[in-house]
């Protein structure tokens, strides 16, 4: 049984103009120790997905369909106190802005100890020892002094390390990291990603990494999902998708990277922009921007087709598969 399983999840936002679907037909599962990347541009719904896994979605948003099963248990069925047991304890979350997690008027030590005491029965001095140990794990220089410092006394990279240490405090099974390094400089980003990768491997923690950076995903994760306008359009092993993207959007995204173009030449751009949720076109959401658009794309929502180890939601890929299958039969 998978550690975390998301089945046919749908999240709506109740707006003035009516309910808008922010997420549609999300299906995936996460094994113990697996590292999964969720990639997409802003507005694709990747952060909403992160929040709805922990049922942290707040009004006007709500889960309208589907289930999130953690160790076989639907999180939506749990009572608030049971849900609290899972949040932080079994599944923890790391945000883009460390100051969202850190309370500016408490010292690092106080926050870590408080977090431990809330979930575990232990003496305060023991909690402090564990906190210290976690700070050492995230390789913070002189961890003892950090315990008594306030968040504003630390640099951005240091704060993000602290947040990771807090995320690891209760030895969770899953860490959901929402753009954990976007606000940081490249050299710090590289260090933090390296650190997260090692920590997850050592402690056999599963990681859901939400990011817009294909480079980071390709370096850290084993599997990845690409999201567009609230749907997963491609899902599979990271290596395969990066080396051979099949959905035209994923292809476009990869080709748009400056690394992919000859220096001084024009970049391969995808025309247009992602539609806002209220105005998602009928059929495949990507059809107005797609180079290979066919008539069917404008009317029917593509189902996800199995292609190798990947699943792709694209009519063109589906058709190619059908033709291949026919060819095989002949």
């Amino acid at each position: 049984m998978a550690l975390l399983e998301v089945k046919d999840l749908e999240v709506c936002f109740g707006l003035r103009s009516g309910a808008v679907k922010a997420l549609r037909e999300i299906n995936f599962s996460l094994e113990r120790g697996e590292r999964l990347g969720i990639v997409g541009e802003s507005g694709a719904g990747k952060s909403v997905l992160g929040f709805s896994i922990l049922n942290l979605i707040s009004r006007p948003g709500y889960i309208s369909k589907g289930a999130v099963n953690f160790e076989g248990q639907n999180l939506a069925d749990l009572k608030p106190h049971q849900l609290r047991e899972i949040r932080g304890n079994r599944i923890s979350m790391i945000f883009q802005d460390p100051m969202m997690t850190l309370n500016p008027v408490l010292t690092i030590g106080q926050q870590m100890v408080e977090c431990l005491l809330a979930h575990r029965k232990m003496r305060e001095s023991d909690a402090r020892k564990i906190a210290l140990q976690k700070l050492q794990q995230v390789q913070i220089p002189s961890p003892e002094t950090r315990l008594d410092q306030y968040p504003h006394e630390l640099s951005g990279g240091m704060r993000q390390r602290i947040v990771i240490a807090i995320g690891l405090l209760l030895d969770p099974d899953v860490i959901i990291a929402d753009e954990p390094t976007t606000a940081l400089d490249v050299t710090i980003q590289a260090e933090i990603m390296d650190l997260m990768l090692n920590l997850c491997e050592q402690n056999n923690v599963a990681l859901i990494l939400i990011t817009h950076d294909l480079g980071v995903v390709s370096e850290v994760t084993q599997n990845m999902m690409v999201m567009y306008a609230g749907r997963v359009i491609e899902r599979g092993p990271t290596k395969e998708i990066i080396n051979d993207p099949q959905h035209p959007y994923t292809q476009g995204l990869m080709n748009a990277l400056p690394q992919m173009a000859q220096a001084g030449q024009k970049l391969n751009q995808i025309k247009g922009a992602m539609p806002p949720l209220q105005r998602i076109p009928t059929g495949c959401a990507f059809n107005p921007r797609c180079e290979y658009v066919m008539e069917i794309c404008r009317h029917n929502l593509p189902d996800s087709t199995v292609s190798g180890n990947c699943r792709v939601a694209c009519h063109m890929v589906a058709e190619m598969k059908r033709e291949q299958a026919m060819g095989d039969e002949v």
Binding site: D185, V186, E219, G252, L253, A263, L267, A273
Partner: protein
């Protein structure tokens, strides 16, 4: 040194300090029985000299707080330098008043980072674009004015029929196009772009970069391009200047810099770019963190984190040294042949 004849903008020995001690009363401190005035400064730029050559795209890269945006803003006259000079086609411009600067405002324009803040939310797109054109060309008739604005809107891929709309009706990428249109509307020859694509999504970044390259070709523009994204630099830049803590570490043509980075900081920076390929070299882990620009380290500003630092690096500030291939590096190690 680069040939000064074809350089468009010259920056000579630029320094910029910001006081962080508040106003006069806050600076008065009581120390050892005496009242003293204490002032603390952030040293944002410390002796930067750069030439922007006509027709090139000079990229300035560095991490946050390295002073790259301050350089851009000082060149544009938004900030007054604490010391040093900025010249445009040989004429010194940093000490001019607003009126005397006016002719240069037409020639030098700026594109900003945040497309959500750089357009006035209470002005329609048409108003935003019309005002600068009218201001700099008061003699244009209404029809000429309209044609001019429509032409520039077309050139950035914005439909002129959207002119009566307000910025909040547009997406980030569209706004950045409009922002570029505003800069192009006065027919500049030099554009400073301060992180113009870092607030945009990947697929939109490509569109905006292409647009900027198109404009460079068709209008013969020169760019000073500020960014933290090395992948963009590799694609876009003619030459690259790497900055660290307010000083210039390395200045080289894009090809040379990426093929053979010399300065230890440049090497670390390049190795940290996340790559799609598997064969990425291990990234060079730097010790410690960037020191605060309030109390600068002595000697080379990078020595505290540099794996090759020795006694000399701790004491002597390295100067930019020209190398055989035309690059310039400020590093004692490179000079001595140690690195």
């Amino acid at each position: 040194m680069t040939d000064t004849n074809n350089s468009l903008v010259q920056i000579r020995d630029l320094y910029k300090r910001f006081s962080i001690s508040g106003d006069f009363l806050d600076q008065i401190k009581f120390r050892g029985g005496k009242l003293v005035r204490e002032q603390e400064h952030v040293h944002a730029i410390n002796g930067v000299s750069l030439d922007v050559i006509q027709g090139e795209a000079l990229c300035v890269v560095g991490e946050s707080g390295c002073g790259k945006s301050t350089v851009a803003r000082t060149v544009m006259g938004l900030l007054k330098p604490s010391a040093g000079e900025v010249s445009y086609r040989g004429e010194r411009i940093d000490n001019l008043d607003d009126k005397a600067l006016l002719p240069y405002r037409k020639k030098m324009q700026m594109i900003f980072q945040n497309p959500y803040a750089s357009l006035n939310p209470r002005m329609t797109i048409m108003e935003t674009l019309r005002e600068p054109v009218q201001f700099h060309n008061p003699s244009l008739s209404a029809v000429e004015l309209r044609d001019k604005i429509h032409e520039v809107m077309h050139s950035v891929g914005v439909d002129p029929s959207w002119g009566e709309r307000y910025p909040h009706e547009f997406s980030g990428g569209q706004r950045q196009r409009i922002s570029i249109a505003r800069a192009l509307a006065v027919d500049p020859e030099f554009i400073v772009a301060d992180e113009p694509i870092s607030a945009l999504d990947v697929s939109i970044q490509a569109q905006v970069l292409n647009l900027m390259m198109d404009a460079q070709e068709s209008r013969n523009l020169t760019y000073l391009f500020i960014t933290h994204d090395l992948a963009v630099v590799e694609h876009f830049g003619t030459r690259v200047a790497v900055m660290y803590l307010g000083t210039l570490c390395e200045l080289a043509s894009t090809k040379n810099l990426f093929a053979e980075p010399r300065h230890p900081y440049t090497r670390a920076l390049l190795s940290a770019i996340p790559r799609l390929e598997d064969d990425r070299p291990d990234f060079i882990r730097l010790q410690g963190e960037v020191p605060t620009p309030v109390n600068l380290p002595s000697g080379c500003v990078f020595h505290g984190r540099c794996p090759h630092a020795n006694e000399r690096c701790k004491q002597e500030i390295p100067a930019l040294i020209p190398l055989a291939d035309g690059s310039q590096v400020a590093c004692h190690g490179v000079e001595e042949g140690r690195i």
